[in-house]
Amino acid sequence: MKRLTLSLLLAATFGAYAIYVKIGVDKPAELQQSVTTAPQNAVPSANISNRGKYKDGEYTGNVEDAYYGNVQVKILISNGKISNVQFLDYPQDRETSVRINSQAMPYLKQEAIQAQSASVDIVSGATNTSQAFIQSLSSALSQAL
């Protein structure tokens, strides 16, 4: 079975992100799934699409505040497209204290959560459109234009 190429998957992923860099503009980002038109919003804006118009190379984005910590990404452009996104910094200072909750269901199994190193296909989590991620990614991409 052949997977869709990585660039297609990434295009699907990044193409659907809110594309606007909200520089001093306080309005909800729009979902854009089509990468045919460049969205116009705050000026200047970095358009996050994956249509092969970026210069190949590695670019490091700005450090952005994500409330629980900072987010900073480094991207790799290959053949004009985003081929890798690496997190240089991400929120990681939340303590996981272990205090047994006496009101929890006594008959259901409990455990302290632990990081798993298993590789997975997908991740399920609460919706976390991270503006900090988008801004750091945008700042990296704007260097690649």
């Binding site: 979902l31 799934q33 929120p91 990681q92 929890a104 199994k109 298993a118 997908i122 609460a126 919706t127």
Partner: protein
């Protein structure tokens, strides 16, 4: 409803056009159901521009499914938000993902997943011919996963949570009460529509939410409290 979307098709015949159809559908959903869009149908319903009899078919469907879910959850699922306006996003997300999976099935695909905002519908096998492996995100360190589940029977998985800044979920039965004892509740069910609506309802029950999922036949759950202690339903470990 602004959220990232991922689609992966294992079948060799997947094309850009198939992905485009999925994204077009999500855009359609966004334009209709987003309470953040000034011209969406739901916004116009909320400000009185569109009357109950003038709602579109899809809107009527969502309202009807919402009412049904409210009954089934003893009022813990309620699309009336604390500001008195309708916000059906706790059901629309799963319903929309489910619909896109149906689109892919009609196009003949047998092995894929569609993920939007952390809720997922899987079908068939991953690109290595094995089960689709879904990780449950660590609410305290969102780059980590704390559990990995193996989805073998075209299940849906949805996670409700409040670990994002400014994202508060209130108990619809006592609207002064923010849910803060638990931070994440993941539900695995027969499809993502079911998983999403029950994850939304169960989260509003706070710590009791996992007991609700335990009682639901065909669903398993994994709840994480604010201290990092997880509680799971009896057969959840069958997914590990």
């Amino acid at each position: 409803m602004d959220m990232p979307i991922t689609v992966e098709i294992s079948d060799a015949s997947g094309k850009q056009g198939d992905i485009d159809v999925i994204f077009d559908y999500f855009k359609y959903i966004e334009e209709k159901f987003s309470v953040y869009k000034p011209n969406s149908e739901i916004t116009k319903i909320n400000n009185g521009e569109i009357g109950e009899n003038e709602r579109s078919e899809d809107m009527k469907t969502v309202f009807s499914l919402s009412e049904e879910t409210k009954q089934e959850t003893n009022g813990y699922f309620d699309i009336v938000a604390n500001n008195g306006k309708f916000n059906p996003s706790g059901l629309v997300k799963g319903w929309a993902i489910y619909n896109t999976a149906e689109i892919l099935k009609k196009r003949g695909f047998k092995n894929f997943y569609v993920e939007a905002g952390g809720d997922i519908q899987v079908k068939g096998k991953n690109s290595k011919g094995g089960c689709w492996k879904a990780g449950i995100r660590n609410p305290f360190k969102t780059q980590e996963i704390v559990k990995s589940v193996c989805l073998r029977k075209n299940e849906g998985i949805a996670t409700s949570g409040t670990y994002i800044r400014g994202n508060h979920i209130y108990n619809p039965k006592d609207r002064s009460k923010k849910i803060d004892e638990i931070v994440s509740l993941t539900v695995i069910g027969p499809n993502v529509y079911e998983a999403d609506r029950f994850a939304t309802a169960a989260f509003a029950m706070g710590k009791e939410g996992i007991a609700f999922i335990e009682k639901l036949s065909g669903f398993e759950g994994y709840m994480i409290d604010k201290n990092g202690i997880a509680t799971m339903t009896t057969n959840f470990e069958g997914y590990l």
